[in-house]
Amino acid sequence: MLGEQIIKGMAVTARNFFGSYVSKERLTTVQYPEEHLVPKENTRQFPFLVYDGDDWEKGLRCVACQICEKECPPKCIYIVKSKDKKPDYKGQPQLYPLTFDIDISVCMSCQICVEVCPFESIKMDTKFELSTTDRFGDLLLTKDKLAKSNRYYQKLHPQDAADSDAVIAGEKAKATAKVKAAAEAKVKADAEAKVKAAAAAATAPIAAPVPATPPTAK
Amino acid sequence: MTALQGCLLISALLFAIGFAGAVTRRHAILVLIGIELMLNAANLNLIAFWRFGPHPEALTGFIFVLFSMAMAGAEAAVGLALIIAIYRHKKTSNLDEVKELKG
């Protein structure tokens, strides 16, 4: 019969129209500035720098190795190395960034800097409402704006933060173990050297210097 | 000058304008427009005579105008169909070029 399908179509739209007043399913729009969707666990927007402890300047994990700067495809990261070393310098080339800028108007949120960072210090944030009225100043995030505490990161991405904490803890443990081992080895070597020296002094004073590798070089 | 004379003068002027156009213009459609204007002048005459005449209750002029309008509609339809047919045939609607009977 002519018109049957029209009536059916009208019924569908009428259901949508009246349903939108009673059912949430038929009106899925989120009223954005007032309401926000709960972000997904895997949300990533722009990078930030993680610091441990309470003082962001001291606790910054970044060591200014400049790997992220080199890897960044749109070249939006700018780092100036410091001349001096970190106060808690532990032997490795642990400088700190004098300048660490990310131009988020250039950044394309590819997350490569996060992937390549060996020190777990650059991570992705979930903030996206970054529009400003200042085109150049406010879109260039400097070190102080980028630095966020580890607690913030833990809240943001609990799973990833736990993973990276575990990595850092493991490294720390390794390092301390190494230091300990080194210290022990040194003690041992010292003792041995002492013994040897004593023995040498006693037995062979013309012996060539022992090609013993220094314990620290191991 | 009475109202009837005024109406008749207006309609005479309208008729003259329509006639002048129909006679002087080259384009077939304009000739048709001129003829329509002349018809309307005649209609205006009829209405004026009905309005100011002795027996308006007979509605003769009134009804005549209605019929004349229907005829004008028929005339316009057929005339424009002819013009379109001629245009399709000769690729012109200029009356000076359509003066031969052979196609």
């Binding site: 019969m1 002519l2 018109g3 029209i6 179509g9 009208m10 739209t13 129209f17 007043y21 009106l27 | -």
Partner: protein, 398 residues
Amino acid sequence: MFDKLDQIFVTALHWLVSFLPEGLRPFVSALICIAFVMSVFPGVFALTTVLERKILGRIQNRYGPNRVGIPFTKIRLCGFGQFIPDGIKSLTKEDIVPRAADKVVHFLAPVVMLIPVLLSYAVLPFGKHMTITDYDAGLLFFFAVGGAVEVSVFMAGWSSRNKYSLLGAMRAIAQMVSYEIPLILSAVTVVMIVGSLNLNDIIAHQNQYTYGIAHWHVFTPWGLVGFVLFFIASLAESNRTPFDLPEAESEIIAGYFTEYSGFKFALFFLGEYLGMFAIIGLGITLFLGGWTSPVSFLTWIPSYVWFLSKLMTIVFVFIWIRGTLPRLRMDQLMNFAWKFMLPLALINILVAGIWHYLGAGALRWLVCSVIIFGAYAVLGRGLMHNQKFGKRIYRYAE
């Protein structure tokens, strides 16, 4: 008390005019009536634009505009202030006239559009004793000035020197001319039954009650069919979906007003909506009893409230249809007008005659319903059978 409320506008007009000298009275009262129409219906238009967007939004499972309320405050009014920024925007936009355009005709087209549309309000009865001019041939007047809209559409399309404009104008005129015939023929049935072209007489004929139910024409077989035909034809006359080919955005941008911007575009927009209200008002007057109430115990509600609520209901249905149906093709449009609506309108005239001559009783209900239903089934089957209108068969998609 309710009578006074019902006649409040009429008494106010008489009171206002009574201060003036005798000679000025008709002139001033005409001016006041014009001001009334010019203020009320553009207001309804402004609300309708927002309402349309909101209803379309709800149909498509989203909010429509719901932000703008009273300017400079936090009051949002569910977004019903949206027409204020819209209006300001369209009125302050630059008025662009194409270089090749025919300037005079291009300028005159929106004006010529608006004049007949506003004129057609002169004969509509908005309420009891609320007709501006009570013409003897009001219906004919309405259709006559409605015909003049086509000229303005042509002027707009031709003067823009734009192929889309011209195509849109040609489509619009072809569509308007085709659908004017079923429109007028479906109105003719009412004229036959009532025996008058005067819209107030037509309403008076419907303003009677048996068993508490009004004698609206839509409650009879011929009236129902006439109303449906009139409704469809008025959809086409006011260029609404599914008959919005003249301004099909996906094909010809905006049809005949492609080259219009700013104030002139706003005038076209206004003219289109006012034309829609006018033709809906006529449909209400002819078939839905005008300002009368459907049941006798609700007659205390003021007549203009009935008129406006019926108007807004039909406008809602228009929007609902817009949210439901896709646009027709040009050949489907013409087929529908000439092969379905015109024969059905002619049969409906016959049915109205039969209804009149069979006299009161169950017999005329039976006979008229059978004829109309049979005609509908046969004509509908013809359309469906032609595969012009029926289910589309996809060769590759399925």
